[in-house]
Structure formats: C-alpha cells, structure tokens
Symmetry: C2
Subunit: 453 residues, 2 copies
C-alpha cells in the first residue's frame, strides 16, 4: 500500500494545484508539471512546489535488477553502492560530504525496474547537485581497489538482511517460486554466490551500457521553475555524451500457473509464525483497461488497514490474528504480484488464519463488494493522497517510478478519474479471475517445532 499512497500524492497535487484541463481556466504556469528532453536524450520532469525553499533532485535510471544478465544478479544494486565512490573529478565520499555540509539529505534505492539517486537541498545548491550527479554518470573510477571492499559491504548487507533473517530467506524463495521464468523471481540484492562473483569487468560493462543520459529521467520537484532547471541541466547533464541505444526492455514472461505451491521455513529464530500468499497479476503497465485500478481498490478493501475486511474479520471479530493485510505492487514494467499476509494471535493456528483470509477472498469473488464499501475505499485513497501531497519527495518519487515503469505524465494525470470509474463488478471480476486458491503460492514462516500446515 505504501507505493500506492505515495502515487496518490502526486496525482492530488497535480490535479488540485495545476488543474491544467479545466476549460476557460489558465493553469498557473509556476505550478504546472513540465517535461522536456535534452539533446543527449535525458528526459526531465519539473514539478514546481513553492511552499518552502527546498528542492528535491532525483535522477532515475531505467535499469533495475530485472534487467541484469542471468548469473549477474545484484549488479544493479551493487552499482548503486559504487556510485558513492570517487570519480575522475571528485574523491570518494566527497559528494555525500558536500550534501551533509549544506544541511541536505540524500539517498538512493534500487528496485526491479529502476535505480534512483536523490538529494533534498536548498534551491541555491541545485546546480551543484546536478554537477555532481552528471559527473558520476560517466566519470566513476572503477578499479579493483574500489570494487572489492564494496562487494564485501554488500555481502554483509545481504547477510544481515537475508541470511540472518528467516523472513528474508523465506521471502526470497516464495518470490522465486512465484516467478518461475521472469527475473522478478531473482532478489534485487542478488543471490549470495552471484554477488561473490561480481567483478570489475561486470561493473564496467553495466556502467557503460546503462548509465547514460538517454537511459535516465531527471525529476526535480520544489522551489524552482522549469526554465531554471532547463538552464542548469543543459550546463551540467547536457555535457554528458549520449550512451549506446538500448533495445526495448523485454523480459521473459511467466508461463500460466496451473498449480498451488507452498514454501515453508521452519527456523529456530522464529518465535511467532506468519503466513503470506501471493499471485502473479497485471500491473498498471500490463493490465487491460481498469484492471490495475480495480486491483488497487481490491487490495484496499480486502486488506488496506484497520477498515479492511480482513482486519475487521480476523483481528476484530474473530480475534485470531494480530496482523493481516493485502499488498498490490501496482507499478511494475511487467506482470507483478498481489499478496495477502497474516500472523496468528493467542491459540489460533496459522491454518486458521489462512482459512479465514481465503474465506474473505472467496466472499468478494462470489458476492462482490457493496457500493458503500467501494465509495469508502475510494475516499480512503483520496485521504491518503492528501497526506502524500505534503511530501515533495513523494511526488518526485511517483513521477520517477511511473516514467521508468512504462507510464506517462498523462497516466498520472488521468489516474484519479480512472480510480473513480472502477465499478463493484470490475472489482469482483478481478478477484474472481486472479485470486484463485489453486493457483497461488503460500509461504509459511514457522518455529522449528511447529506442525506444518
């Protein structure tokens, strides 16, 4: 739900503030989202927000773990780390120190479909951020002395997040059991043995192929104008040469799933058992018209917080679960996943929790949802937008994530009305079509002595 709430934020902002399509009304030029492309192919989106003297500078690369070559898992995330090392112009860590000195914030993240870098600073520092970011797009120093220690850092990161976390181990294998052909089945951080083998040649090949202006989207949100962003971007990013032309991002597709699958981890470190069940289904990029919107609302009604059906039934009424929920990863370049999860409470078993969650899904698939329920879910979405609207970073995130997963600014603009248009029947239909018990993948995280479901 997190991604959805964030996505909603930008849309609210865009419609409430800019309202560019209202007839007879001039859009406030200072608040309208604009988009342009530099000669070297860099796509730039500017989201003016003059409420505070802050600017968010986010550079998104259209490359994520699902673009990695087989056997090279982890290289996209590895690269995110390497980008904080030195360039031919700046010492390692200098960029980060500079951001800290001026009281800014920065971070980076890698996902299946994108890798992004951002800084939040005062507007006068924007040019400096651009200069540093443009510099490390092409001038990174990739010696063995840089790469080997960072590989150790990543192996430790994997150790603490996965090897030492039963939930992390289970999650990876549930995911790999869900995606049997598509690279979303490979963990973003990479398989341990493949991270260990990543080397300088891999890093250089990856950098030269994917880190180029024509494979990136720059999103600048905050107290700036499009004109200023364009001028500064031309002076900085504009100096970087276009990289190789890249083929369309076509990944292997999943075959049809015919079976019900389970993945179980009994581990002495588990004190409270937990359960999850996942399905592969369309994303905004791959779904038929209205499907992803209906799935967004289905996840909200089924398991989105304390007003959801699952929470009311399992936590409040039956008292058999301490937590339950549903999650739909709506923004993805390819078919994505929908997941439900729960944790039993008191004397309840994991099998009871699973059965009760299955019953809630079956009830929606058979009887659908009421008009009131649907209207309330749409309203809760709107409320989450209002919260997200206050976050410049959240807005920039939505534009970046959408534009690197097959969407357009037009899609973001139209999204609220598409959500409004979802009918109760559509929602029942997607539940019936996609949340099929006999074609699911369930994961069980259990203490060592727990009887297996």
């Amino acid at each position: 739900m997190a991604a959805i709430a964030v996505m909603s934020g930008a849309i609210m902002f865009s419609t409430a503030v800019a309202a560019p399509s209202a007839p007879g009304q001039e859009a406030d030029a200072k608040s309208t989202v604009s988009r342009f492309v530099l000669d070297n192919g860099l796509e730039i989106v500017v989201i003016p927000d003059h409420r505070a003297p802050i600017v968010t500078h986010m550079l998104w690369y259209k490359v994520g773990s699902a673009d990695e070559a087989p056997g090279k898992s982890g290289i996209a995330h590895f690269f995110e780390h390497l980008m904080f090392k030195g360039t031919t112009n700046h010492a390692p860590g200098e960029f980060s120190r500079r951001v800290a000195e001026i009281g800014g914030q920065e971070n980076a993240f890698t996902s299946y479909d994108y890798t992004a870098y951002f800084q939040q600073v005062t507007p006068d520092a924007l040019e400096t951020m651009m200069a540093y970011e443009a510099d490390r797009m092409r001038n990174l120093v990739l010696t063995e002395a840089v790469i080997a220690p960072e590989r150790d850092v990543i192996l430790e990161e994997r150790g603490s997040r996965v090897e030492n976390e039963p939930g992390g181990l289970l999650g990876e294998e549930v995911n790999a059991t869900l995606y049997q052909n598509h690279p979303y089945g490979v963990p973003v951080i990479g398989w341990m043995h493949e991270i260990e083998a990543l080397n300088r040649a891999d890093a250089i090949a990856f950098y030269e192929r994917y880190y180029a202006p024509n494979n990136a989207v720059l999103v600048v949100a905050g107290d700036v104008t499009a004109e200023r962003v364009r001028t500064l971007a031309e002076q900085t990013y504009g100096m970087v040469a276009r990289g190789p032309a890249l083929p369309p991002r076509l990944r292997p597709r999943e075959p049809e799933q015919n079976t019900r699958r389970t993945v179980t981890l009994n581990d002495p470190r588990v004190s409270q058992p937990s359960f999850r069940k996942a399905w592969v289904m369309p994303s905004y990029a791959t779904g038929a018209s209205g499907e992803a919107e209906a799935l967004d609302l289905l996840s909200e009604i089924l398991g989105g917080g304390v007003r959801s059906r699952a929470y009311e039934a399992l936590v409040v009424e039956q008292g058999i679960a301490s937590s339950v929920g549903a999650y739909y990863q709506s923004d993805a370049l390819d078919d994505t996943s929908f997941e439900i999860y729960g944790r039993p409470r008191g004397g309840a078993t994991i099998a009871e929790v699973e059965k009760a969650l299955d019953a809630e899904i079956a009830r929606i698939a058979e009887e659908g949802v009421s008009e009131d329920e649907l209207a309330a879910a749409k309203k809760r979405y709107v409320r989450s937008l209002i919260f997200a609207r206050d976050s410049q970073r959240g807005m920039a995130h939505i534009y970046g994530a959408t534009l690197t997963t097959g969407g357009t600014i037009e899609d973001i603009k139209k999204w609220p009305e598409r959500i409004e248009a979802v009918t109760a029947e559509q929602l029942r239909d997607v539940a019936r079509r996609y949340l099929v018990p006999d074609r699911s993948v369930a994961g069980y995280l259990l203490p060592i002595e727990e009887a297996r479901p």
Copy 2:
C-alpha cells in the same frame, strides 16, 4: 535409472572387450575405443563392435535447452525438428526417406545439455549418412515457409504432452520450483508462449552459433575401424568450416535452498493420485570425488526396482503403494536432481506413501546400509551392464552423453572401479547431506476432490 543402466553398458563393453589397462596384455586394436579431432574441431569417437554388420552413427551437438537465451525456450528442441527439413542440396525429408529405403533406423533427441541425431544402418551406408549429416550441419534452408508450419507441429506436441497431461503440467512446475535460478527449471520443449514467439531470426542465430563441427561430437559404433571412420569423416564433415569460438558453458547456479516446497495440481483428469519429491544435487560433472557414484548406488538401493528398500517396504510389506522408485539424473553438466516417487494403492493415502518413503530415507541417513546390501546393489549394476552391452546404440549414447556433459573417455573407463570403491559410509553421508526433508520440493497430482496433503 534408465540412463544409468545405459551408461553401465558401455563401460562393461569397454572393460570386458578392450581391457586396455591390463598389464602385459595387448589390447585388441580392432575393439579399442579411439578418439581424434578433425582440423575443423569435430571430435570423433569410434567404438568398434564387429558382432554384426551394423553401424550406429550419432552426431551430438553440445547445445541443449539449458543453453538457450532467456525468453527463447524451446529453440533447441525446435531446431531438432528443423534439421529434418531441406537443405540447399537435398529436399525436405529426403535424408529420412533414404534411411528408410536402405532399411535403416533414425531418430533424434534434445535434452538440457545436448541435441543428438542418429542413424543405424549397414556399414556400406555410413559414408552416405555422414554426407547427409554434414550437409545439414551448415546448409539448412530456414525460410518462414519451413519454420511456421513446424512451429505449429511443436505447439501441438506440447499440447498433447503437457497441456493435456496433468502429470506433464505438474512436472514442469515442480521442476521450475526446484530450479529457481538455473535453466534446468525451464522445460526442454519450451514454455508455450515462448515457443509461439520463436521466429526465423531466432532459428538462424541459433543455427549459426551452435551447429558447427567445433561444437559437436561424432560417435560411430559398430562394424567399422577407426581408420575408415577417419577417412570418411574427413571427406564429409571435414569439408564443413569451423564455426565461431564458443565461450565456456557457464549457466547461473542454484542458490542454497532453505525451504520445503510443495506443488499441487488437482485435476479432474487424474484418477489415481501420485507423488514425487525432488532435490538438487551434484552430478558426475559437479560432485566431489565419489559423490555421484554414491548417489547412483543410493538411488539403486532406495528405489531401483523390485529389490529396492522402498519397493520391499511400501509395495510388498505394507501394501500401501502400487509403484515406488528413485531416480538420479547422474549425467548433467551442472547440478542435477534426485527424485523419489510413489502411487498409493487401495485405501492408502498419498500422505501415507510420502511418510513411508521419508522413513526409508531417514533410515538410510541414520543407520546407513549393510555391506551385503551395498555389494548386492553393485552386482545389480553389473547385471544391468550385461544387458546394455548388447546395444550398440546404448554404447554410442553413453559416449555422446558423457562427452557433451563434461566427462571424458577416461571417466567412462574408470567408472566401474569408482562404483566398486563406494563405501557404505559414503552412501549414508550423501543421503544425510542431500536428502533433507526440510529442503525438498514435493509434487502432488490429485483428483479434483482429493483432500490436500
């Protein structure tokens, strides 16, 4: 077990007939296996067998489904079909008609690691076979008119073998759940939607890359001499230009498995439920010294026919199964699979069969096997060799399969003594190390109404 029995055949032949390493004894030159390489890189193995005027001509390409690019599954097998079409010198089907006219037999097969073509004919036809086979190595006509109808044939083949066979559907998904990173998880025939998309460009690229003398092994067994094979091969295959140099066949490796996984198919077409359980483990090519040999004998003792522990316990004594067995796919370029299977009888449930099979494994892992049992298993292997020894085709198969999966002629020669050297302790150790219940993948094929285990 089939592959093992066949493998044993050649070894017996090689040791019993040629006995090349016995001191003070001259090997019969006419019966010694010889190996040589043509200037264009074609590796040739000749296995003389003068008992009958027959010759088996087998051409093995070092390419199988596990060498396919992601998203292009099925191209290796598709190509096996295309090789029976026309060349620039011969009409479609002409080669096959010629084999039939002279009373010969022919066939072809595709596996994960190799694709092979063979004819069994009288010795005077050997040169003709070589000429045809060399011709289609490079002169195949790959037009859309050839490719499109053959793709339909393969889609139909997949339909009848997989889509209309619940056991086929389940098998594919068990396999993909077992191999989460390595291409052995992709079916040899290919995923339906990927076969549908295979096209002329894919076929040409595959042909040019893999169908070349330096990527093939020719095995000729039968009533011939090495000299004659060399002369004929030079006149036919020798005319084919060397293809591109190919990199080592390095496929992504499996990550460590931490979970217990199940895959269940409830299908109205199933009348008798059945069960299988699989593990990834070392092959002859990847195992430490003696491991694969111990696993071969373990599969024999646990589930190799009516003298095995599983058969005695579940079928004879307890009467709960109509069939049980174990299978170890020992010849594979990469880590391979070990599998047990069973089908309940009478009122027995699938859960009882699984539990009883698990108990047999646990018994070996805890207590090991007796010296008598081990000696008897080795003896049964020897007996299966004697049967296989009579098959020229079986012998040629062993040499081809071994040489295309990382083995050598020396490996084949030494294999019987390596089997003899396996100790009861080694066998218990591999059972304990690899057949771990909490790191297995179980498949359940059930009627539609069957309660799920």
